[in-house]
Symmetry: C2
Subunit: 346 residues, 2 copies
């Protein structure tokens, strides 16, 4: 059986400010790509909204808003993003990167794409399904807004796994999800974005396609004043530690429960001079262990060599969905959105 | 607002052997109940198949099999189980306990019940949905069998949450799931058994009923010879450490992602003189932290006082299902059981 190993990297980025110039940001990303290349990486994941600050924390006048969006999803050819993809192609490294997408119909999405270096094109696109935050800004001027529901529509492309071509030697070109986990076929990949990683549904749908590697870029606040009145009083240091704990917990737990690797890449540090984002970019195994993680909160490559065979134990035994899942008992998951009185649940 | 605190205990049990006599086992359980009572516990959780060894590891002749099953689900009145419930009633402590159920139609289920001390009756019953293992024993005589699929039918009662009466002062008698999390109503509880805890679907369905405490008894092997050929070679010590890690990971992760407490109670130690079961009984918080855990692998009480208000932060903000879940994107979860080639998933 041909080995199915994959050298993979998360490109954690330090802050990108409101005032940052795009060429400077692209230059940092290209430097990260080159660092990953020197380690032998075949695939590099960049954060959510990697090209800009995490602008949904601001109430931005509509005439300025479009400066934070890309106006084509064909990033490899668009002036503002092309240099990154040119470098990826030159180095022969696949990349996945998050950006704010302005669709042709004018709607905004929080999107990521997967670019195959050998094919020289984007082969998969994902739009964030689980948008956190609110549509309207908080009245309290000390509040840190999270206006994703204002600027973006919920993703409408589902959780579509895909095979990443030309990464694994000896891979057959066609199989099914189970065969992929049995050491055949190109690696099965899935993308999610930030808050999606806290929602088991997306992980499960990827798992049901035999996913072997889940990619997740994020911008996660380390501390925000409590406007909800329900959070235990924490210092900023405690809150940030807890946020990193939660991040790793969901990456580890969902990787384990779906027998897949995961790679997560943060935009980290003090953005716009004021808003702290956690680091914690990491790579987790199908057994739920952290294989590698970021040391700091700046630009940093987190690297690991994955043996995709490690997905087999879980997929064939404990988490053999075909033998163990009981969909006749799962109805409420897709029948209702919110919470219903126990006695009234169908 | 009246405080909604709940003093809760996991009664971890050391091994119960094939040769153990029921009066002796009941006596140990009563001693545990008394210990929990001395700590002020209002609710005590016992393990899966608490009254017997974990017999699905054995191929048992059909004429002997029924000695491991209870033949009534009215355990408080049945000779073989009554003393435990009498003591619970006397002490005024609710209990939840797992047992092998022989239903009236002759079918077997891996079941747990919830007994209200003040009501003096069983108020909820759960049948394990996710049965691990195989129907047929392994051919390899060194294999440790897991014949739950042989002895039990998959649970057919769904994941029905329920309110536990008379535990919380000042609780209003009616509300909805969200109100419960807002400090009204009797605590919303859910039961699961062992392997169920590794499956996100059950947790989610409880979460969608506003669950505040999930109860889970288990018998989990620390080490079994690898008959699947896929597991990394591990020493028994490494394997047991990993099994405890996985147990805690899923209890912590799923508690966090559904903003609920969880209590888990192991049957632990070397059962039938040969088969090692992990300990690790623990209580986790809605933020995913371990609040208390077992120190050893014998009979032991794990105790914590829970403030049910701690569920609010998650249920109202990050995991406000009504605002954030997107059931239009979740179809495959209930439409298919196993793994399907990415391109073919609907």
């Amino acid at each position: 059986m041909a080995p199915r190993t994959l050298k993979i990297a998360a490109a954690q980025m330090g802050p990108v400010h409101l005032t940052s110039k795009r060429p400077e940001t692209l230059s940092r990303m290209i430097t990260l790509l080159q660092s990953a290349s020197s380690l032998g990486a075949q695939l590099v994941l960049f954060p959510e909204t990697a090209f800009t600050t995490f602008f949904p924390r601001h109430l931005i006048p509509s005439q300025e808003l479009d400066t934070y969006f890309e106006h084509s999803d064909n990033l490899p050819d668009a002036e503002n993003t092309k240099p990154l993809f040119d470098e990826a192609k030159k180095l022969g490294i696949d990349i996945s990167v998050g950006f704010a997408e302005r669709a042709e119909d004018g709607k905004g999405y929080n999107t990521s794409v997967y670019f195959s270096a050998k094919k020289g094109e984007v082969i998969a696109k994902y739009r964030k399904v689980h948008l956190p935050g609110t549509k309207e800004p908080f009245e309290n001027p000390d509040a840190v807004n999270q206006l994703e529901k204002r600027y973006f529509e919920p993703g409408n492309l589902g959780f579509q796994a895909f095979r990443a071509p030309d990464l694994v030697e000896g891979a057959v070109k066609k199989g099914n999800g189970v065969e992929a986990a049995l050491g055949k076929g190109d690696p099965v990949m899935g993308m999610m974005i930030c808050n999606d990683r806290r929602w088991v549904e997306g992980w499960r749908i990827y798992g049901m396609q035999g996913v072997e590697v889940v990619l997740c870029g994020y911008n996660t606040a380390g501390f925000a004043p409590d406007l909800w009145g329900t959070r235990k009083v924490m210092t900023p240091e405690e809150a940030e530690k807890d946020a990193v704990f939660h991040h790793k917990l969901v990456m580890q737990g969902n990787s384990y429960m779906n027998s897949c690797f995961s790679v997560s890449a943060a935009k980290a540090g003090l953005e716009d001079g004021k808003y702290d984002l956690i680091g914690g970019s990491c790579i987790t195994s199908p057994e739920g262990h952290v294989l590698a993680e970021a040391k700091g909160k700046g630009d940093e490559i987190v690297f690991a060599e994955l043996d995709l065979e490690d997905c087999r134990q879980g997929k064939e035994k404990t988490f053999d969905f075909d033998r163990h899942r009981r969909i006749d008992q799962y109805g409420p998951i897709t029948q209702q959105t919110g919470v219903v009185e126990p006695d009234l649940l169908e």
